[in-house]
Symmetry: C2
Subunit: 550 residues, 2 copies
């Protein structure tokens, strides 16, 4: 538990209580030149400084829950509760660095199997307790905040003990996982069968199978392996109304696809306890490579051509010029300067880094696919950087959260947000979101950097992922980001007709719930609310997530 | 209108009042040897023999509806109403050949645009009229039966005037169609932009864009172009609660995907008025080809390997030995005998025909894909029949319904049903459905043929499509099929845990509604019913379709 506390309370992500990523001093200097003076921000709060109210869990409820999961799996101590006090958004992290009250649950339950989860929900319904399902706790949209939602107590249902690979069907290439299995463990269990899921979002090291499904996660290799919902063939959910299983065939015309209602339901329509996923042979060969395109428009046009020709690499990721520049800055080192000179000599005015990665059974198989892609890229004017640029990205593919800890320690406001839209709207959406962020964050002595990349491309459109960096406003650090996020969401959700989706792979949580009606209409909200009442008549499941409290 | 009447009342599908498919006499003789003596069945009913009750549409409702769509678009005449008295299932066709009452609507409305559809629904809600949306009328599962559902009158909403291509976005490869555009017209409109949808189900000639979406249609080239729901990027629905639009991005994590609730909603959750679809460049080159594999197990194993290697042809269709045999029989001719001898000489004991079709931009592009597929097939022991076998299938790809008319004229019971499941269950499901059909249909002097094919293959499983042929039981023709269909559905839906989905691409309609709870659970039914109440509080939309009447 103390390891968990270190992760979640002190340093958010980085294990061991100390930031594992150290930024080179030269990089810090160059960053400061760009965005304004940096200084160490609010110190990390000591555990003893954090306010933890008494648990409001009624003794009768506690006894009933202990009956289901065993007394040793009903935790009400300070450390266990502090360890599940929300997710990993910038505001979550900031609140843990500042004085003030944290959304600490009244108890943490550790059920041992799907049947126990079902019985826990029934007990919670009887005692009218709010229930927040909790996997890796990596939500960046307020999806695991222990909100009471009008109930007198809230329990966090930590699914870590649901950690089994239940079965494998190698003929159909299907695997059934319990919901609490984390990314690396899922891959380890599948690798024993020569199989892989191929789902590697940035949260991979911590996030769980249940969380991937509940939030419609998209991994870095989504072009090759699909989004997580593309992999989900079946689900088993616990709901206050009973167990619910879906998924008997690879495709069906038996009415609306209710799996698509369970996937993305963020714990508000049930607790995923098992997920049946499509798996694939473990790739024997991988190859990563970097290219540069000159400017955003040329870059996105090239990625669009690849997507529409079916020629995307499994990993396809295009950074805009600002992201390319800042990434090089944060790396520091002499090779960066060399690279800048090389690109200038090739006439590249605004280098946009394109990282491609292929996974395959044989070198020849990858070679055939790669040859076609590279031919198309050459025709689009791409400059090849070679494998080291691709390998450098791969080596740091999960380092983002750790790097964020280091930047927070430097007193920065650092956060990401993302959306997706159709190709013909992509540049307009990027321009408007950037402008909204820059306008709301600019202040004397503080100049935000807004970086953007496309990490998921489809035939008809792509995602946009923004990263914001600027000196924190220590007078009002929460308000600084709240205003910027609101401006960005309004730019995305538009007035009347949205320019893009409010989330491409981070989900709705509590943070995006106010914008959902703009995307799915008031009728959509009423349909979701009706579905929720059908499975959760008293509204105990993850209150305020997905649907605003009514 | 009289043309429509010919289609729908007299001969079901075949235009012009006469069966366009003539079976060679030799084929009829060989068929009779296999299944039992054939004789002309019940004569096609004359229009004047068909009972059409008075329209029960109240004058006030009629006046309100005329106000919305114009008096000339509120049809209450006998011909118009008879022309929309159900779909095209075997039982639908049989009922039109037999004396008895038909499910004739009280009126037919022809709205001219999405706004009129919306206002029609509001008027129908005010007057408490049941509303049955009607596109091509090709449902084979009772999805367009004019059921009153407890209301005092039912109107059919024929969407044929919603026949426009609203817009094309060539950059994003998206097109917006009104719901009433039929398959060939959609392709003609797109071809003017150099684009195609690539959706060619057997109902292509008649069925509509709205119908494709409402029923989760799957086209013959689904391996290349996807199922229809894979093509749907956005929908516009009219509902009694107001207009509902969904779909702003190629992919989203903004909660459950409600498009997947609209797609497959079969008119029970709203009337689709516009559909935004992903389109692709019109292929310049096509190639069809036939192969033979020896036996069902080898055949399905080969198709599975192709599907799991990403090596399926755009059209991939494997017939079992019975279907292969009967197809050859119905073709008649000397080449068939030659083919049989050729395959025997190659040691093929149980020939299973595999038809493959590729669509592409260039011959080279197709050649590259084909080479890989053929290499894998050779390794799996496939015998190549060449292009003529593929072209023969292509030439007759939409002829099934016409051939059925000809077989009905011969006094046959002829019907199809379909399902899908995972690869490891596929053979068991085929065996059990076959056995259920054969056991329930076998009778002295009548021996059913049950043919089966896989026409849609996925990484994790495939569809099964059954065709049943046997001499009609003139003493109880309806009961004969009702019992067989029930037995087949019970074999699919199983007791407790279903072996497959109750429909892979025909939808639920009224016919499969009793089996839906077995597939999505009572909780799933309650979620759908709640969603329906949210958009259609008084239950006027397509009563009895999708959800059984409560």
């Amino acid at each position: 538990m103390s390891d968990l506390l270190d992760h979640r309370v002190r340093h958010a992500w980085t294990p061991g209580g100390a930031a594992a990523v150290h930024l080179p001093p030269k990089a810090v200097r160059r960053l400061a030149e760009r965005i304004g003076p940096l200084r160490a921000g609010a110190a990390v709060a000591r555990e003893s400084d954090l306010a933890v109210p008494e648990s409001a869990l009624p003794p009768a409820a506690s006894a009933d829950l202990a009956e289901v999961v065993g007394a040793e799996h009903v935790l009400t101590d300070r450390v266990a509760r502090l360890g599940r006090c929300g997710g990993l958004s910038y505001l979550d992290l900031l609140r843990r660095r500042l004085p003030g009250e944290l959304p600490v649950p009244d108890a943490v339950l550790l059920p041992g199997d799907p049947e126990q989860v079902q019985r826990v929900l029934e007990a919670c319904a009887r005692h009218d307790l709010a229930v927040v399902p909790f996997g890796g706790g990596t939500s960046v949209v307020g999806g695991v905040t222990a909100a009471r939602g009008g109930k007198h107590a809230v329990v966090v249902l930590d699914l870590r003990r649901l950690n089994r690979l239940v079965s494998v069907d190698p003929v159909s290439r299907l695997a059934v996982f319990q919901a609490g299995v984390r990314g690396p463990e899922a891959e380890r269990l599948l690798a024993a069968h020569g199989l892989t899921l191929g789902h590697v979002p940035q949260s991979f090291e911590r996030a769980t199978i249940g969380g991937f499904a509940a939030t419609r996660s998209a991994g870095q290799a989504s072009a090759g392996y699909g989004r997580f919902e593309d992999m989900v063939e079946g689900v088993r959910l616990a709901t206050p109304r009973g167990e619910w299983r879906l998924g008997v065939a690879p495709a069906s015309a038996a009415g609306p696809d209710l799996r698509e209602l369970a996937v993305g339901s963020e714990g508000a329509l049930g607790v995923l306890t098992e997920v049946t996923v499509r798996v694939r042979p473990l790739p024997a060969v991988e190859r990563f490579e970097g290219f540069v395109l000159d400017g955003w428009e040329r870059g996105t046009a090239a990625v669009r051509e690849l997507a529409q020709a079916g020629a995307l690499a499994d990993v396809t990721r295009l950074s805009d010029a600002d992201e390319t520049e800042i990434s090089l800055t944060l790396k520091g080192g002499g090779r960066t300067a060399l690279l800048r000179r090389y690109l200038r000599a090739r006439g590249v005015a605004e280098p946009c880094l394109l990282v491609l990665g292929w996974h395959g059974g044989t070198r020849r198989e990858i070679g055939g696919r790669r040859a076609r892609t590279v031919r198309m890229l050459r025709a689009a004017g791409a400059v090849r950087l070679g494998r080291s640029a691709g390998e450098a990205w791969r080596a740091g593919r999960f380092a983002g959260p750790r790097q964020r800890d280091a930047l927070l320690d430097l007193g920065l406001c650092v956060e990401t947000l993302e959306t997706a839209t159709h190709w013909s709207t992509l540049s307009r959406l990027r321009t408007e979101v950037r402008a909204a962020l820059v306008d709301s964050l600019r202040a004397p002595g503080r100049s935000p950097v807004v970086m953007c990349h496309v990490s998921h491309a489809y035939e008809t459109g792509a995602s946009l992922y923004f990263t914001v960096l600027l000196p924190r406003d220590d007078a009002d650090p929460v308000g600084q980001w709240v205003r910027a996020k609101r401006a960005a969401c309004q730019a995305i959700a538009g007035s009347g007709s949205p320019l893009g989706t409010i989330s491409h792979h981070h989900a709705v949580g509590a943070d995006h719930a106010p914008y959902l009606a703009g995307e799915i209409g008031e009728i959509g909200i009423s349909v979701l609310a009706a579905a929720k009442r059908a499975v959760d008549p008293t509204g105990i499941l993850n209150p305020g997530t997905l649907l605003r409290e009514q």
